[in-house]
């Protein structure tokens, strides 16, 4: 029923690391929640069900906890609903999408468990390998788990659902719940569907590359701080999938050392993303709680009134932007190195495709820096942009403690990299892959070696030490010079320094939005109060911009349109006269007769064309009839 192997225990560790700081934060947050009992019951059940998911060892237990996890998180989104339309819509969307994925999981388990839902995972491999279409099973996994993880194109629900939950729950959902989907993906690919086709790895790689770019680009266009962070979850899931897909590609090409390296990189990024994304959501939650608004345009200068929140948020922002020497940098470095290991691949066309993934990852990290400069600078720096921000105070000590604890997790992932990698290596090894801990830390535990040919080396402690050392020297120089300091207001060309002349978050992302306008297609509304009949003079102007994600516009709304069309035709059919029903039966009969001849092998183009003509005429005359 339950199993306690290394991968499961690793993810239990992940959950504990994510939940323990979160509990303190939640205790601090609790007084502001109206339905306390409802919240606590679902919070506890949510955490317990996640642990259940990673420990489950047969289909029925797994699916049970999976469903509990989905339902409790759905209820948690609704905690602060108060009949707010956006929350209800988001919860409905989330409920639909999570069950959309569940259907595919159910199909997957029905096939691989051979009808016996109490079969252990390790016994499923035989049934799966006897199954004629393993790619179908793979697609079930992709649809089932990656829709929960929020990979493109099944990600549209994520930026709606995660921000609507209370902030500690957003932290849990983004930090942990989507990792549970990745855990399932890992587990069943390794235990049930092994060995893999090379195309599967490439598909995951492509999904990862697209997810990372789409996530960061839509994050840049957001000015709702929690939606921005939720979009970054999509980006980071993409990065993890790049590492994972690369590992699958290497494995199917029998490059086992590189494949283990990529998997370790992906696991490492899972841990890192959990740490900094939880911290960011906690920080965003504190800000939201003090300012009562999610709109970044109304923040500003919060670093002065909320120092703890601001500095922990800065740590997380540096880490998620993959800047050295933080943990986010280390795992992205590992993923880069595994991509560069592709030079040993023999297949030239595959080899030529990898630089595009490198390009996507590099552009993503560049844009992520821009995005977090925006998020941090607009929220915490400058002058306060509204009354809400003016009266913000530091949050209570429990919430502060939660954030500090989580930043300690971030720092520990940076400082104790060898310790964590040792366990990732153990987990990969327990799944039957090569152990490469000795190759990563060859001589000492300070240098992280890439296992690629002539690979690079990074030494987080060296970088951190150098950074601190050089800053100290510069500060000493500063102290020795004994510089006189005078405070004065910012020069604003003779005008008063005012908060409304600062850059807004919409303005900050302006150049990037304009450059990617083919993707964003923003709806822009400019209204001006013209003075008299002057075309160029106006007393006030207003610029509004809204970005609807392309995927939502094309994929989801397109699906809705097609479903509407089909249901309209079904509706038309059900209101036909009785004679037409008879005609339909006749046509159906004709179809069966004709197609039987085709399938039985008695096929020629001439008869096919003749039959199609007959069918069309009979449908036109008997069913459609004369158009009114």
């Amino acid at each position: 029923m339950f199993q306690f192997d290394f991968l499961s225990l690793l993810f239990v560790g992940l959950i504990l690391l994510g939940v323990i700081p979160n509990i303190f934060y939640t205790l601090g947050y609790l007084p502001h929640i109206k339905r306390k009992t409802h919240f606590i019951i679902h919070y506890v059940a949510f955490v317990a069900s996640m642990i259940g998911v990673v420990l489950a060892n047969n289909s029925i237990v797994f699916l049970f906890f999976w469903e509990i996890m989905s339902l409790t998180s759905w209820q948690l989104i609704l905690t602060e609903a108060n009949r707010k339309k956006s929350t209800l819509a988001a919860a409905k969307f989330y409920f639909f999408m999570t069950h959309f994925g569940f259907v595919f999981l159910l199909l997957f388990f029905l096939i691989v468990s051979g009808g016996n839902f109490e079969l252990g995972f390790s016994q499923m491999n035989e049934i799966a390998s006897a199954f004629a279409y393993p790619t179908l099973l793979f697609f079930f996994l992709v649809l089932g788990f990656l829709s929960k993880a929020g990979a493109v194109p099944l990600h549209v629900w994520l930026p709606y659902a995660h921000p609507e939950a209370p902030s500690p729950v957003s932290a849990l959902m983004s930090g942990l719940m989507i990792k549970m989907a990745l855990y399932g993906f890992f587990r069943f690919l390794f235990e049930v569907l092994y060995p893999w086709d090379v195309e599967w790895g490439i598909l995951i790689l492509v999904i990862g590359a697209i997810s990372s770019l789409v996530g960061v680009l839509y994050a840049l266009s957001e000015h709702d701080i929690k939606a921005l962070l939720a979009n970054h979850s999509i980006e980071n899931i993409g990065i993890i999938l790049i590492g994972f897909g690369m590992g699958m590609v290497f494995d199917s090409l029998h490059l086992y050392t590189l494949s283990s390296f990529s998997f370790i990189a992906a696991l490492f990024h899972i841990f890192n993303h959990m740490s900094f994304k939880s911290l960011l959501f906690m920080g965003a939650g504190s800000v939201l709680h003090q300012t009562r608004t999610k709109n970044m345009e109304r923040y500003g200068a919060l670093i002065k009134s909320m120092p703890i929140t601001a500095w922990t948020f800065l740590l997380a922002a540096i880490s998620i932007s993959a800047l050295p020497p933080t943990n986010g940098f280390l795992s992205e470095w590992m993923i880069f190195q595994s991509l560069l290991g592709s030079q040993t691949i023999d297949n030239v066309s595959l080899k030529l495709a990898i630089p595009f993934a490198i390009f996507a990852l590099a552009l993503t990290s560049g844009l992520a820096i821009a995005c977090f400069v925006k998020a941090y600078g607009i929220t915490f720096l400058g002058l306060h942009r509204s009354e809400n921000a003016k009266h913000a105070k530091e949050v209570n000590s429990l919430m502060q403690f939660g954030m500090i604890l989580m930043s300690l997790v971030v720092i520990s992932l940076m400082l104790f990299t060898p310790f964590y990698i040792y366990y990732f290596d153990k987990a990969i090894f327990s799944l039957g892959h090569v152990s490469i801990y000795k190759d990563i830390f060859t001589t000492n535990i300070f240098n992280l070696h890439s296992v690629a040919n002539n690979g690079g080396v990074v030494s987080p402690l060296l970088l951190l030490g150098l950074l601190l050392g050089i800053v100290t020297i510069l500060v000493i120089v500063y102290k020795v010079l004994n510089v006189k300091v005078r405070m004065h207001r910012t020069w604003a060309c003779g005008y008063k320094t005012a908060s409304n002349t600062q850059y807004s978050s919409t303005g900050f992302a302006g150049p990037i939005r304009k450059f990617f306008s083919w993707l964003y297609k923003p709806d822009e509304v400019i209204t001006k109060n013209h003075i008299g009949d002057h075309k160029t003079k106006f007393s006030s102007a207003n610029y509004e911009m809204h970005v609807t994600p392309l995927f939502e516009k094309s994929l989801y709304q397109g699906t809705t349109k097609i479903a509407n069309m089909i249901s309209y035709w079904v509706y038309r059919l059900s209101h036909f006269e009785k004679t037409r029903y008879a005609a339909m039966v006749f046509n159906l009969l004709l179809t069966v007769l004709f197609s039987y001849r085709v399938f039985s092998g008695d096929f020629s183009w001439a008869t096919l064309i003749l039959e199609i003509t007959v069918m069309i005429i009979s449908i036109k005359i008997l069913i459609i009839g004369e158009t009114r």
């Binding site: 800047l323 880069f336 002539n454 970088l463 300091v485 910012t490 150049p511």
Partner: protein
């Protein structure tokens, strides 16, 4: 080890000189009376002794960020390729770490821009974020291309490999990477087609806009950082794309290295004199060229066979 210390010292000391040289050479080309090439040193000394005015709207970020702008760049200087044959060098630092350190410096620079509550700062940060985001993939792709040609992902080791055994079979990808890197040099160090370091006109400035509200010691730190960023890029260009002179004796090798830097400075100032600054939304086209060349370089390398 003594050569290592010497080369770091040389690079740090020559950094302001190169910027001074570009400025006076440009003035010479424009028939103006050239300023002294030692002017940057005088500026720094003046700034160090001046009183510092800090904006009262700004927060502690402004007080710590200048240090964090300069120090990652100083770390990169420690990892640069050697300029003398058998000198010690840090062989293992790869392109991703170096771009990461450069990005860390830019990150805090952009923070300074947003911290002083002035619209100029935000303007500069926004533009810098835009340009550096698009420059990042080009940078990573083309350094990787060159380090694959050299057969080592560590940049310093790659340059030594190139100097010892030049991969003549991969001349095409070498040249593509060189073109791409030169565009990046102009972009990242804020030279004319992308940014004009000499004006304070709000239509054109990028780097200067972010640091308008700094003065005295902090301004000196940022200006030093700008000069060091320039010398990092030009010495990378000199070591990776002009891989010769390492085998000479230390004294000659140093002279050859300095001549290479001067040559790059001459080319940069010729570009600056002959080109107009691009509009902000034309800059991605230039960077697109850099990205395409970096791709071409990698692809020709792969197709011709490693």
């Amino acid at each position: 080890m003594i050569y290592y210390a010497f080369s770091i010292l040389l690079i740090l000391l020559i950094a302001p000189l190169l910027l001074g040289f570009i400025k006076s050479f440009k003035m010479f080309l424009l028939y103006k009376t050239p300023s002294s090439i030692f002017q940057p040193y005088r500026n720094f000394i003046k700034l160090f002794s001046k009183e510092m005015v800090i904006s009262q709207e700004s927060s502690n970020i402004t007080r710590i960020a200048p240090f964090l702008v300069l120090s990652p760049l100083l770390i990169v200087v420690l990892f640069l390729p050697p300029i003398v044959g058998d000198a010690f060098y840090v062989r293992f630092i790869d392109a991703f770490t170096i771009t990461g350190l450069l990005a860390l410096s830019t990150f805090f620079l952009m923070m300074i821009g947003l911290d002083s509550a002035s619209s100029f700062g935000g303007l500069g940060s926004s533009r810098e974020a835009f340009i550096s985001a698009i420059a990042e993939p080009a940078m990573i792709l083309n350094i990787f291309s060159i380090s694959m040609m050299a057969g080592d992902l560590g940049i310093a080791k790659a340059s030594v490999n190139l100097a010892l055994t030049f991969p003549a079979a991969h001349m095409a990808s070498f040249i593509f990477a060189g073109i791409s890197f030169f565009i990046l040099l102009l972009t990242e160090t804020g030279r004319i087609p992308v940014d004009n370091p000499e004006t304070h006109l709000e239509l054109t400035m990028v780097h200067e806009a972010m640091i308008l509200d700094l003065s005295g010691f902090y301004l000196a730190l940022i200006e030093i950082a700008a000069s060091i960023k320039y010398v990092i890029f030009s010495s990378l260009f000199a070591s990776l794309f002009m891989p010769f002179g390492l085998e000479l004796n230390p004294f000659l090798a140093t002279i050859v290295f300095v001549l290479k830097l001067v040559l790059i400075a001459v080319v940069v100032s010729l570009v600056e004199v002959n080109m107009a600054k691009l509009r902000l939304f034309k800059v991605p086209n230039l960077l697109g060229v850099a990205i395409v060349f970096a791709f071409l370089s990698l692809i020709t390398f792969y197709v011709l066979g490693a």
